[in-house]
């Protein structure tokens, strides 16, 4: 075993670093943007940076050259991401569009449409969002109710989407609709793309527990979409959606927030009778568990990268990252606050240790256990797709959608 790049990887990494050094600023200290919202300034910076990446040949690293990509391999994308993370650069604006939506357009749109969409997106001129989840269709995405009804060569859309990241600053959206409610749920769906400025589209921010707004609700009232913006055939929307969601697995990020190191630092800083709290056996006991989890995930990532470097694609076992780290984050937040005792109540960043990172983590960690797949769904995925256990009993597979209880 060794942790060095192959010769090719090292060459590529050097190229990446040179590009980054020339175009961006290294992070001065450890930044932590977990729980932060995205504002207009960040969006503008992100667009500019995406343009530079495109100009430098580092946008769409794994995309074919014919689409304006680099024609590289996933390991190169990983190397770029690793190095990019060391620089003070905007994140969270293009990941979903370029990672999930635009590749779906590439696969399903006609040549002209796709051409018109892909280039500007790659250059950071347009932003895409994904309009799948609905109030009544979260874990069960195929249960969506937003209707698309044919009207001449248009479709008329009515309904509501939710949990749409970036809808308020997106130009285009990938929209999953129900075109036939009289057939079983997976069979009556169709996919479209649309201009988010279309009449009848209304975006509302969702305020989360922690006070930030990372998600939106999107309402559709008689929104007209020409049939030419359909992706895939009518009734084939679930197949198209699966293509999109397959890309989600590759895009899985790490949760930010305090970890082992921060708890250890906190415990060392708190002295009881001249002895730091880090010498307390109960504290060490928990610290050891989190060290093992934290390092376990870090090394699991290295194992995944090794597989990637050998040309294998990451599989459902990647579910382990979120299922471990989000619960760990919630435990750590609670534990650290307990260590502070009543002092833990104070969430003023000027007063609380680590600029109130633990208090903030208490409030945003619950979302980590839900967004992007709940703990329960992820465990189902591990059981079914890794361990080969059967799916849950399904009562909805063959029943017409409009005969199901809401």
């Amino acid at each position: 075993m060794d942790f060095s790049d192959t010769v090719e990887e090292a060459g590529f990494r050097a190229e990446v670093v040179a590009f980054l050094e020339a175009n961006a600023k290294r992070k001065s200290s450890r930044d932590d943007d977990a729980g932060e919202g995205i504002d207009d300034t960040l969006v503008a910076r992100a667009k500019a940076w995406q343009g530079k990446k495109a100009a430098g040949g580092f946008a769409g690293i794994t995309w074919p050259e014919s689409w304006g990509g680099r024609g590289g391999n996933p390991m190169q994308q990983v190397i770029f991401n690793q190095e990019e993370a060391k620089f003070d650069l905007p994140r969270g604006v293009f990941e979903i569009g370029l990672g999930m939506c635009v590749p779906t357009v590439m696969s399903y749109a006609d040549a002209d449409t796709a051409k018109a969409a892909v280039g500007p997106a790659l250059r950071g001129e347009t932003i895409w969002c994904q309009l799948f989840s609905e109030p009544a269709a979260g874990s069960d995405v195929a249960g969506i109710r937003t209707r698309a009804e044919a009207d001449g060569s248009d479709w008329v859309i009515n309904g509501q989407k939710i949990w749409t990241s970036g809808a308020h600053f997106s130009d285009f959206g990938l929209l999953l609709t129900r075109t036939d409610p009289a057939v079983p749920k997976h069979k009556g769906l169709s996919m479209f793309w649309l201009d988010m400025k279309s009449p009848g589209v209304e975006v509302r921010r969702i305020k989360q527990i922690a006070g930030t707004s990372n998600f939106n609700e999107v309402f559709f009232t008689d929104v007209r979409i020409p049939d030419s913006q359909r992706l895939g055939t009518v009734g084939d929307g679930w197949k198209v959606a699966l293509t999109t969601l397959m890309h989600e697995r590759l895009a899985v990020g790490t949760l930010g927030g305090p970890d082992f190191t921060e708890v250890l630092e906190l415990a060392r800083s708190m002295t009881v009778d001249g002895v730091p709290a880090s010498s307390n056996a109960a504290v060490r006991d928990r610290l050891a568990d989190w060290y093992v989890q934290s390092k376990g995930l870090e090394y699991t990532k290295l194992r995944t990268l090794t597989a990637l470097s050998r040309g294998q694609m990451p599989g459902p076992e990647a579910s382990i990252f979120k299922v471990v780290s989000s619960v760990k984050l919630q435990e750590i937040a609670n534990f650290a606050l307990d260590l502070m005792d009543s002092g833990g109540l104070v969430s003023d960043p000027a007063l609380a240790p680590k600029r109130a990172a633990f208090q903030q983590a208490l409030l945003y960690s619950p979302a980590g256990r839900i967004a992007g797949g709940t703990d329960e769904i992820l465990k189902n995925i591990i059981a079914e797709r890794v361990l080969g256990m059967p799916g849950d009993i399904r009562v909805d597979r063959d029943r017409p959608f409009n005969q199901m209880k809401v």
Partner: protein, 368 residues
């Protein structure tokens, strides 16, 4: 064998529940969004009902329901999320006067507490860390208090603070009028803005000693007594969070069925139920020990508190989880329970303090 609240207290409970249902809905959200840390209207109402003086003897203006009555009310207040300084005043303030006050002090303060005219707070903490003797640096010199207390629950809305301070080296409790000179107060950002959390700075404020409180053990015993109604307040909240989760799961459909029919949800809520019942049973024993002033008081209080902290934190976190995406929105009430759970966990000595106190008490009993 009669390990249940009396018929009379069951009646008190039913009335309290009905009253809070009608009058406390939205109390926490209003206080949270208004950043008031306090629902004054509700406080006046519950004071008028006599709740603040539940455990105050009738001779001092209370309604004499005893410790068990206080616990029953605490349970219902916890369930309602009422944004009121009930714990600071009724679990800590009144018992401190009853246990440590002079006859004059009792006569002066208790009737006003019972009437809701005097909100109390406990000024103990001086920064991060569990309650302990050596962490108290606030001093009393010449009858005046000097020092900084952070955080103080209900500090900005209280009339009187019970300040833990050191005079000639020895820990004591001092009543300080918070509207008098020498007191500065500031409300702080906190994890549950529906409950006021403040910093109090004393710079020569007049302190009136509670003569019965000698040494840090008096503070600990005060915390023991408060921990028992506090456990009921936590259990009330936990039970409400469990019921909210259960009801949502019954109504929420996914994959063509109520999510309440999935074992992942069923077993999660069964675990919450078990945690709550263990806490409730410990708290029942606590209520008995408090009412009887039993020698097991410290174990009973510690165990009640440890179990109630665990139950409420679990119930409120898994309520969010059961709600899925809706659970982490500001709009749904899940976070009100989640915030309050952690607030109450930290407000009266956190779990590590109580676990250690529990085992110490058991060891002392075994040694005796």
């Amino acid at each position: 064998m009669n390990f249940e609240f009396s018929e009379e207290l069951q009646q008190v409970r039913a009335e309290a529940r009905a009253f809070l249902k009608a009058n406390a809905a939205g109390s926490a959200r209003r206080a949270l969004e208004g950043n008031t840390g306090f629902d004054r209207g509700l406080w006046d109402q519950i004071a008028a009902l006599g709740w603040v003086g539940a455990a105050i003897p009738e001779e001092y203006g209370g309604i004499g329901l005893g410790a068990e009555g206080l616990c029953v009310l605490a349970d219902e207040i916890g369930a309602s999320l009422a944004a009121v300084p009930f714990s600071s005043t009724a679990y800590i303030g009144a018992p401190a006067l009853l246990a440590y006050g002079s006859e004059a002090q009792k006569a002066a303060y208790l009737p006003r507490i019972a009437a809701g005219e005097q909100i109390f707070c406990l000024a103990l903490s001086e920064g991060n860390g569990a309650p302990r003797d050596a962490a108290v640096r606030t001093e009393v010199r010449g009858g005046k208090v000097y020092g900084s207390k952070i955080p103080v629950i209900d500090g900005a809305i209280a009339h009187t603070a019970i300040v833990v301070a050191r005079e000639a080296g020895e820990i004591g409790l001092y009543l300080v009028d918070l509207n008098a000179v020498g007191v500065t107060r500031e409300t702080l950002e906190s994890i549950d803005p529906a409950r006021d959390t403040s910093r109090l700075v004393f710079d020569g404020a007049v302190g009136e000693k509670l003569p019965g409180a000698v040494g840090f053990s008096a503070v600990q015993l005060l915390l023991d007594r408060a921990a028992i109604p506090m456990a009921f307040e936590q259990i009330g909240g936990a039970q409400a969070a469990l019921e909210m989760a259960r009801d949502y799961a019954l109504g929420r459909q996914a994959f063509g069925r109520a999510i309440a029919s999935f074992q992942a949800i069923k077993h999660k809520l069964a675990d919450v139920y078990v945690a709550i019942e263990l806490a409730r049973s410990n708290a029942y024993f606590g209520a008995w020990a408090l009412q009887a002033d039993a020698p097991e008081l410290t174990e009973a209080a510690s165990a009640s508190r440890v179990a109630a902290i665990a139950a409420y934190e679990m119930a409120s976190a898994e309520n969010i989880q059961t709600h899925g995406g809706m659970g982490f929105t500001w709009e749904f009430d899940c976070h009100l329970y989640y915030r309050r759970a952690k607030h109450l966990s930290l407000a009266l000595g956190a779990a590590p303090y109580w676990k250690d106190r529990l085992i110490s008490a058991v060891e002392q009993r075994n040694a005796a």
